[in-house]
Structure formats: structure tokens, C-alpha cells
């Protein structure tokens, strides 16, 4: 099972597009990617989840960890997600209140 990543710089935003299933096996790779971005100086990170087929609590934990790390650098993490089954996971866990979630990368990077 593969997790795919694509990184794209859009103005002051670094867009990390994730593809595949984020679970206990693959989530460590997402964590590494996020840590890498922060250590390279990307502090405004957009995580595009439109290509994600599955996201579990381990994946949520990695995103929350990334958000905390970015905030400690006065940065932020913005999510792009319109898939109902992925949004549902954020809703159940109350994380829609923690993340700002946008419909498109354009709108996420418009700020």
C-alpha cells in the first residue's frame, strides 16, 4: 500500500497533496513529510486530502501533530477536503473546529 505525495509552492503556501490510504502503516510517512516541510522553513502548509481514499485516527493524529508543530513556528495548516467520508472523520472527532477546511487549493491559498 503506497502513500503518494506531491509538493507545490504557491506564493507563501506550500501545498502537500496526499494520495492513497493514511493508516497506522502509512501515517509515519505523512508525519515525516510534514516534519521535513517545517524544517525546510515551510510554515504555511496546505494539505490537500482530495486524493486520500482512507483516513483513520492515526492519520488525524499526524495532522494534529503537524498543526501544533506549525503553530509553534507561528505557522498554520489548512486542509483541502470535500469528500464526505473523509470530512465525516473530522466531524465525529470535533476536528472541524480545529482545522480550517477548504473546498479547493485555490481557496485555501487565497488568504
Amino acid at each position: 500500500m503506497d502513500l503518494g505525495f506531491e509538493v507545490d509552492q504557491r506564493g507563501s503556501y506550500t501545498v502537500l497533496a496526499v494520495r492513497g490510504e493514511v493508516d497506522v502503516y502509512t501515517a509515519p510517512r505523512l508525519r515525516e513529510r510534514l516534519i521535513e516541510l517545517v524544517s525546510q522553513g515551510s510554515h504555511q502548509v496546505v494539505v490537500d486530502l482530495e486524493g486520500v481514499d482512507f483516513l483513520d485516527s492515526t492519520g488525524l493524529g499526524v495532522l494534529v501533530g503537524g498543526l501544533k508543530r506549525l503553530r509553534s513556528h507561528d505557522g498554520d495548516m489548512i486542509l483541502v477536503c470535500t469528500q464526505p467520508r473523509i470530512l465525516k472523520v473530522f466531524e465525529i472527532t470535533g476536528l472541524t473546529k480545529v482545522f480550517s477546511i477548504h473546498d479547493t487549493v485555490e481557496s485555501a491559498t487565497a488568504g
Binding site: D23, V24, F54, V64, K68, P84, V89, T93, K97, V98
Partner: protein, 159 residues
């Protein structure tokens, strides 16, 4: 006779029991998901979003079962699938150290202002929210998590 004369759904408890035994390793959780979603799809009475819910709940249970063994050795996780007319049950068993489920919060505390600090502890609340019933049976000998989805009977035409 039901309109769907072709019995896709298995007929009885024992007959319909599928068992999957996997090594307690992270890379096998996706196999458990695949099996559960394939079995759930063959029941024509489950909507896609319910299948996704079950798949995620089972995945969380398998993840916890595997993490219970840390550091992982040659331990195993066993999944049972049981089909019945009005419900389906999945249980996930490990022989890890067990835990006391009553110490865990009943529901996700969605309004908790400390939520952003929670990088863990989301699995059980998710499981509770996603399926109709979750039961934990845990002892020194291990844990069994039973997840149930109720499937309201579809009234066939002409009955």
C-alpha cells in the same frame, strides 16, 4: 419468496462466519479493511457510507490490537465476520495485555477546547460513533472488540 431470490447473503450464523487471522503488524490492517469492505458490499442492503463506517471502525480496532502488542513479535490478530439477516457483526481479537474500557470517554468530546492537543485517543470514540454497537471484552488474556451494524430488513415487493 423474497424478490432477491439469489441468496447473496449467507443464510445462517455459523455458515456465514468468515475468519481472517493476520500477523500483528501494521501492514496487514489494509487487508482486514479489504476483507470487511468486500464482505459488506456483497450484502446488498448496506449503503456505501455504512460500509465505509464499518471499514474504518474495524481498521481502528485492528490498529489498537496491533499496538497492544508493542513491541510486536509473532503475535496474531483474529477477525471474525458474522452475517445475520438483521445485522452484521465483526469482532477483532488480540492476546495483548488488555485494558479497562470504562476509563475511556464514552463519546468524543467535540467541544473540548484542548482538542488540538489530542494526537491520540481518537480511535475508540470513532469506533463508538461509526457503528451501532461496540462492545469491549478485555482481560489479562487479551481484548475482543465486537462491532455491530444493524441492517433494517428491506421489505421485498409483493410481500
Amino acid at each position: 419468496m423474497a424478490a432477491a431470490g439469489e441468496a447473496v447473503r449467507p443464510l445462517g450464523w455459523d455458515e456465514a462466519d468468515v475468519e481472517l487471522e493476520i500477523p500483528a503488524r501494521a501492514e496487514y490492517v489494509s487487508l482486514a479493511r479489504l476483507v470487511v469492505s468486500s464482505l459488506a458490499s456483497s450484502r446488498r442492503d448496506l449503503a456505501d457510507d455504512r460500509i465505509d463506517d464499518l471499514k474504518l471502525a474495524v481498521s481502528e480496532a485492528c490498529t489498537n490490537a496491533i499496538e497492544a502488542y508493542e513491541p510486536a513479535g509473532e503475535e496474531r490478530v483474529v477477525l471474525h465476520w458474522r452475517d445475520e439477516q438483521d445485522r452484521l457483526e465483526v469482532d477483532v481479537q488480540d492476546h495483548g495485555p488488555g485494558f479497562d474500557p470504562s476509563t475511556l470517554p464514552e463519546r468524543p468530546s467535540v467541544a473540548d477546547p484542548m482538542r488540538p492537543n489530542y494526537e491520540r485517543g481518537l480511535g475508540v470514540p470513532l469506533m463508538r460513533a461509526l457503528v451501532d454497537e461496540v462492545e469491549f471484552a478485555s482481560s489479562d488474556d487479551g481484548t475482543s472488540v465486537i462491532m455491530i451494524l444493524f441492517c433494517p430488513p428491506v421489505t421485498p415487493d409483493g410481500e
